[in-house]
Symmetry: C2
Subunit: 254 residues, 2 copies
């Protein structure tokens, strides 16, 4: 059994608690939150605390807290030379205080508190200061049945940037599309099968080869009509910019 | 049995041929292509021709050709007052010559010739000049088991514009992400579960409520680091623009 203490009661902390709790090889010895009210509902199934001085002994301490709290919280830990990881995509392993053995356990997924996720589908990006500690992280990941990747802090920063494009910016493309359909009293649901197929394609094709539409065809008539149809100046600017990027990629390929 | 003639041997024409051929209620009386070589392989299962003057009698003629060929091809049809539709998302019903009864049969999906698609999942956008002709189009769609929507030419233009955002531009977000991961020797596959979950969320949440990430959090530290990390001037410009759009949306909500 691997003994784990979770620190933090946000989306990631709560998801980790639930998935660890259901795993026979992982023992959550304690759950810490500075807002004890957030985790009171779980106090029958786990020892909870809001006192950093009272942390129990464990094989791994997971700091599932806001990016900006990692540094400070890791410095407050009342012990030395234990294995301590954060779960952030954008922070370096060096964000953790040097009193303990630093590591990163970054689940690359978009978490909402209410949303049930199949954790086995989530890739885990792992990094450790010491190679022996990697064995501990890997054994947790294997127990969960997840895929894992050894990713250093520099790569993880780039991966997080790429994640912003495929998740945050893609979601904003959906938001703009919904503005357009709402404005013309069109049911946004019509677009959902197209959205699903857009994603299915990346499992079969390199995205550059999956590109279709007026930009890649150089269909200026449609492009100009679309730009005229967009009500917002920023949306017109975005349409022009992405169209020119798609168009240039195509030229580079030829 | 509804008698149909397909004109055009591109992606849409070929997909329609295959799905109609498998349907007992639809009889493809003929398949026309000006490049007869493209459809020769099907000549055992359907009457093919490259002579517009030789078109047989049918209940519906489907012009599955390039947007810019619709007008000209519809004017070359050697008959009058028959039901003729195009399959374009961006062209008005008025693009069709007035000699015949005009209609639109627009399957809202991204087609690749090799890609097998479940046609029952594709929404069909229907429009007819005469209300009786809508009955013919609806009976075809019902035979195929597809969802359909009555969408006029003005709405279809807006829908096509929205489709550019959810399909073409979204796919380009994936292309940019792959540039970033490739540049740092990161396996692009790590991002695929995140991409799938991004899309799963729109089946549960309005995209504006599904928005996460540094832009919506106003996390300027991460935003500035990301902009520094981007190598291309256009990618930096795009990052700034989408970030400011996400940020403004949030302010509008508050």
């Amino acid at each position: 059994m691997i003994k784990v203490v979770i620190l933090g009661s946000g989306n990631v902390g709560t998801h980790l608690f639930k998935v660890f709790k259901n795993n026979s090889q992982i023992n959550i010895t304690q759950w810490y939150s500075r807002n004890i009210k957030d985790i009171n509902q779980y106090s029958k199934s786990v020892k909870t605390t809001d006192k950093i001085k009272d942390l129990d002994d464990a094989d791994l301490y997971i700091l599932a807290v806001n990016d900006d709290s990692i540094h400070e919280l890791s410095a407050l830990l009342p012990f030395k030379n234990r294995l301590v990881c954060h779960t952030s995509g954008s922070k370096s392993i060096n964000e953790l205080n040097k009193n303990n053995r630093a590591a990163v356990f970054y689940p690359l997924q978009t978490f909402s508190k209410d949303n049930e996720l199949d954790f086995t589908k989530i890739p885990l990006c792992l990094e450790t200061e010491n190679s022996e500690d990697m064995i501990t992280l890997k054994s947790i990941v294997k127990n969960l049945g997840c895929k894992y990747y050894e990713i250093d802090s520099n790569q993880r920063e780039k991966l997080h940037l790429a994640a912003v494009f495929v998740n945050n910016f893609t979601n904003h493309m959906f938001t703009i599309a919904k503005t357009i359909t709402d404005d013309s009293s069109i049911d946004f649901n019509i677009l959902k099968p197209l959205i699903s197929e857009t994603v299915n394609k990346i499992y079969k094709l390199d995205p550059i080869d999956a590109q279709t539409g007026p930009a890649v065809r150089g269909d200026d008539k449609t492009i100009n009509k679309h730009i005229q149809d967009l009500k917002s100046k920023e949306h017109r600017e975005l349409y022009r910019l992405v169209t020119s990027l798609i168009n240039n990629l195509d030229n580079e390929k030829l």
